[in-house]
Amino acid sequence: MHQKIEEVISNIEKVMIGKREVAQLSVIAMLAGGHVLLEDVPGVGKTMMVRALAKSMGLEFKRIQFTPDLLPSDVIGVSIYNPKTLQFEFRPGPILGNIILADEINRTSPKTQSALLESMEEASISIDGQTIQIPKPFFVMATQNPIEYEGTYPLPEAQLDRFMLKIRMGYPTPQEEVEVLRRAENKQPITTLDSVISLDELLELQEEVKAVYVEDSIKAYIVQIARATRKVSEVYLGVSPRASIALMKASQAFAKMNNRDYVIPDDVQYLVPYVFAHRIILRPEARYDGITQEAILNRIINKAIVPIKRYAEK
């Protein structure tokens, strides 16, 4: 595994017990320039995860707690008239940071949600005719409670599409939970966490990820899987080409993490559920039958033909 990335992940592991995979996936999304949607019930360590990530990288961490009455300006900022200068001054909102935790994103109104999601996609905000670039790296980790819970505004599909990965935290195992309790007795370990990677190193790593080679046969493999989601009878809406791009980028980051400068089918297979699951909309009948997106994706992967030769020129 890539040394620097390994350092970051083990650093996170110091505070997040048994969540190595989540940490890995979060780093992958970050390196690939994507955003993550963490979906799980409250209290499993979603916030801690993001904080640990921010701290490990020495990045600015901002948190937006989404509530039903939150306004877009609370996210992106607001221009305030300064009587001294007789001018409007822009007071940046919390979105202008490096790592943003958008907590319980599905609790706010769609209007505010879309303000966040648009800035996520563009990596910039527009206010009073002015476009302000959000500094790099820019990484949003949104959490949401499973949509069945009360008082939520489910995210529209178009907006879910903007998250590169959707990760579930899951409950810790009994042993892990005991360990969590043991650590909680003492002072919060998060406060003692040091950063292990500099900003420059991180940006460089992001560039390196972009340079990871994806052979055409791998691209074809990705497309093969993406197209398959559009043909399944239980699926109302399959994944978009944007999803294929996200899968490719995530695979590049995963390859980099494994110290490779080329993507192999294993990378793709591993990431498919995280990249595609939240972008598939099931038909209601399928949902009633208890079929999950993951099950469908599993089926698709089992049918897709892994390329074992170079892409044949046509």
Binding site: Y213, E215, S217, I218, D261, Y262, V263, I264, P265, D266, Q269, I301, N302, K303, A304, I305, V306, P307, I308, K309, R310, A312, K314
Partner: protein, 736 residues
């Protein structure tokens, strides 16, 4: 350039196949229209194909083709050079005349050169059409169906025999279909294939076609369920005009061509004539004297003489007749009129009902003295009589005369045609004949011995599964020693040959025999004689007696009337056949017919099929062994294929160009060891699985390099020697 080149080669291959199919078109056309110069026409087809192969500019192509046609016409019709003034003048005058003729609508008056010209144009158009079918449509189906339909039609309705042509066309057509199908796939996939890959794709199908065809040829085939449709259609539509008897259009019934005997035949109930007679008769039509080892022909050395008789005049010929007192009359009504007279034994006169006589001015009879075939004629042409009567008196052969030693020896010069035997006749036939007659003393006894030989020696009457002698085989030899199955032709021909072998002059007689009684009212019985009653038998010359008829065919009885004027020492001598008489009607009816196969036996294809038929068992065994070997190899491929891979690639160094193929082969070899990579399994996880079972890390190692090789961007230096080592190690590794 290479792909372009391949394209030409490919098209050339198609055109070669097309050329052979077109040849099959040409053969029957030329054969039936009696057109010559087949090679030159084939050359024209070849030229046309080459021109369309190279996509020559149409003006040049037109010039070449027209020049060829012009050359052909001047050369063939006038033997002139195209470049000479005469040649050009000839062409111009032909052109002028025919254009005028065509425009004035006198279609029948166009000249042969012009017909030839049109024929060439037709070929030209046909080739253009084929070119279109192949290169644009990429299907040969219509052409193939057309060809098969064409050959089938000709085979059914003309003399042309399309058996081999049909096999050839289906074979070539299937091969062509394979070529074009593969071509279609390649075009569809939008790829170009290299030669060896193309061959790899095509070869298995071609091999299968080959094997299946050989199997098809060797396997026994049942007779057609629907017999030859021509007589069927004719009888169904009531147009039995009997022409087929003379022209050999039909394959059943009475035919004149006996040059190739053998082969199965099918029943034909078409009624030929009705005979009112007091008893069942042999109806003699003609005799033949020259045996060719394949069949019968009339000798050409003897000058053909004709003798004329008037109606009611006594006919003198070689058959002895009885006294006038015992003369009887038989009335013949031809349902299917032939142009010859049916002769009962002992025939004295032919009479005509006065009513029928009125239609013609002078009716006489002509007899060919060699064949003793009698034709009615009138108004200077051969007639077909619908009704006539024959007066006959069967001679009573004196037993004493038959049994006596000949008073004068046989004159070999007089009887030369009847003692003829082909040079190629195997010695064993002569030996057998001598063996059979060993205990007989007189010619008659010898003939009797041979006549009854067949019934005693395990021969069987059979019409379905009757062999045709192959190129080097003798018809009689095949029947006597190999098949022992046959019908009248086999028995009668064999008896004639055996008689001649022991020095008794003999000839082969054709005609009709028996018939079914359909009416017994009045004094005479009415026999209905059908094509099924066509028959052949034997006449042997017994010194002091004359020509005596013999009936060697099993199930038929001869109708010699012998007067036992002396005590016979051996009464069963004449009784042997009596017992069999009862079976005449029960047994399959004897028919005489044209053999089902003829001509065309001089080419390789026919020889090949002959060879297969000859070595039938051998080929079945070979086919079966190939099949069994194939199945065994398929089952045991796990064992030998890895070894073969190693062996084949042992000396081949591994490098960038073949790493992919070698790795694929490794996967295949591992599959035989039980490591089947599922198509959704990544190489890495597969490698881990293999390694854990084999207890190595080498699969992961080579897989890792391979992954880098196929998924990676820049090629790092790969230690191919090491890869080769690992490769061999893995292929040879056994599961412990």
């Amino acid at each position: 350039m290479k792909t372009n080149n391949f394209h030409y080669m490919e098209l050339a291959l198609y055109y070669i196949v097309v050329f052979f199919i077109l040849q099959e078109w040409l053969i029957p056309i030329l054969e039936l229209t009696k057109t010559g110069h087949m090679e030159l026409i084939l050359l024209f087809i070849g030229v046309c194909l080459i021109i369309s192969l190279f996509n020559v500019h149409f003006i040049i192509s037109w010039i070449i083709k027209l020049a060829y046609i012009a050359w052909f016409i001047t050369d063939v019709y006038e033997d002139l050079s195209i470049l000479s003034t005469d040649g050009l003048l000839f062409l111009l005058s032909e052109m002028h005349y025919n254009i005028v003729t065509v425009f004035s609508g006198r279609w029948l008056e166009i000249t042969d050169p012009f017909r030839t010209f049109l024929f060439f144009i037709l070929i030209w158009m046909l080739i253009y059409l084929i070119h279109y079918w192949i290169t644009i449509r990429k299907t040969i189906f219509y052409f193939l169906v057309l060809t098969i339909f064409f050959i089938a039609t000709l085979d059914t309705f003309t003399e042309y025999d399309g058996n081999y042509a049909m096999i050839k066309i289906v074979l070539l057509g299937l091969i062509m279909t394979v070529f074009l199908y593969v071509k279609g796939l390649i075009v569809q996939a939008g790829i170009t294939l290299q030669w060896h890959k193309y061959v790899k794709l095509v070869m298995p199908t071609i091999l299968i076609i080959g094997l299946v065809s050989i199997l098809g040829i060797t396997l026994p085939k049942s007779e057609p369920i629907w017999p030859d449709p021509v007589p069927f259609i004719k009888s169904a539509t009531g147009q039995g005009d009997g022409v087929e008897g003379g022209n050999g259009v039909s394959k059943v019934g009475y035919g004149t061509n006996d040059s190739r005997l053998g082969g199965a035949f099918v029943a034909d109930d078409t009624v030929v004539f009705l005979a009112q007679a007091d008893s069942k008769q042999y109806w003699r039509v003609e005799t033949k004297d020259t045996y060719t080892s394949k069949g019968w022909e009339q000798s050409v050395t003897t000058p053909t003489e004709s003798v004329y008789f008037n109606l009611n005049e006594d006919i003198n010929y070689s058959i002895p007749t009885g006294t006038d007192e015992s003369a009887k009359v038989a009335h013949i009504t031809q349902i299917n009129p032939f142009d010859f007279i049916m002769q009962p034994y002992g025939m004295k006169r032919v009479e005509l009902n006065p009513d029928d006589l009125e239609n013609h001015s002078e009716i006489g009879l002509i007899m060919n003295t060699n064949t003793e075939k009698i034709y009615p004629y009138g108004d200077n042409k051969i007639l077909k009589l619908e009704r006539y009567s024959v007066v006959y008196s069967k001679p009573s052969l004196l037993y004493s005369q038959l049994q006596s030693e000949p008073s004068v020896p046989i004159d070999p010069i007089v009887f030369e045609p009847y003692l003829q035997l082909p040079d190629t006749l195997p010695d064993r036939v002569v030996d057998l004949a001598n063996d059979v007659v060993r205990s007989a003393k007189t010619p008659y006894q010898k003939a009797r011995a041979i006549e009854s030989y067949f019934a005693r020696s395990g021969f069987r009457y059979e019409t379905d599964d009757v062999a045709i002698p192959t190129a080097g085989q003798d018809y009689v030899d095949q029947f006597l020693f190999e098949t022992k199955l046959g019908y009248c032709d086999n028995f009668s021909t064999s008896m004639v040959v055996m008689l001649r072998s022991v020095g008794i002059p003999a000839r082969w007689v054709k005609g009709f025999m028996g018939g079914e009684i359909v009416d017994t009212s009045g004094g005479l019985k009415t026999y209905e004689v059908t094509n099924n009653n066509a028959h052949s038998w034997v006449e042997a010359y017994i010194p002091d007696v004359g020509w005596v008829n013999f009936e060697p065919t099993i199930g038929f009885s001869n109708m010699r009337s012998i007067e036992f004027d002396i005590e016979t020492t051996n009464p069963e001598d004449e009784l042997v056949l009596e017992e069999e008489e009862r079976t005449v009607e029960e047994l399959e009816r004897e028919r005489e017919q044209q053999p089902t196969t003829k001509e065309n036996n001089s080419n390789f294809f026919v020889d090949f099929i002959d060879m297969i038929n000859k070595n039938h068992i051998l080929f079945v065994v070979i086919n079966l062994s190939i099949l069994v070997a194939g199945i065994l190899l398929l089952i045991s491929r796990k064992k030998w294929l890895p070894k073969l891979y190693v062996f084949m690639n042992r000396n081949k160094p591994m490098d960038e160009t073949n790493f992919e193929t070698m790795f694929t082969k490794l996967l295949k070899a591992l599959e035989f060891k039980g490591f089947k990579r599922k198509h959704d399994q990544t190489l890495q996880s597969f490698a881990k699985e293999v390694d854990s079972v084999l207890g190595t890390k080498k699969m992961s190692e080579i897989t890792h390099i391979y992954e880098q090789f196929i998924y990676g961007k820049q090629q790092e230096e790969i230690d191919f020697n090491k890869m080769k080592e690992i490769w061999e190690f893995l292929i040879n590794r056994r599961i412990s």
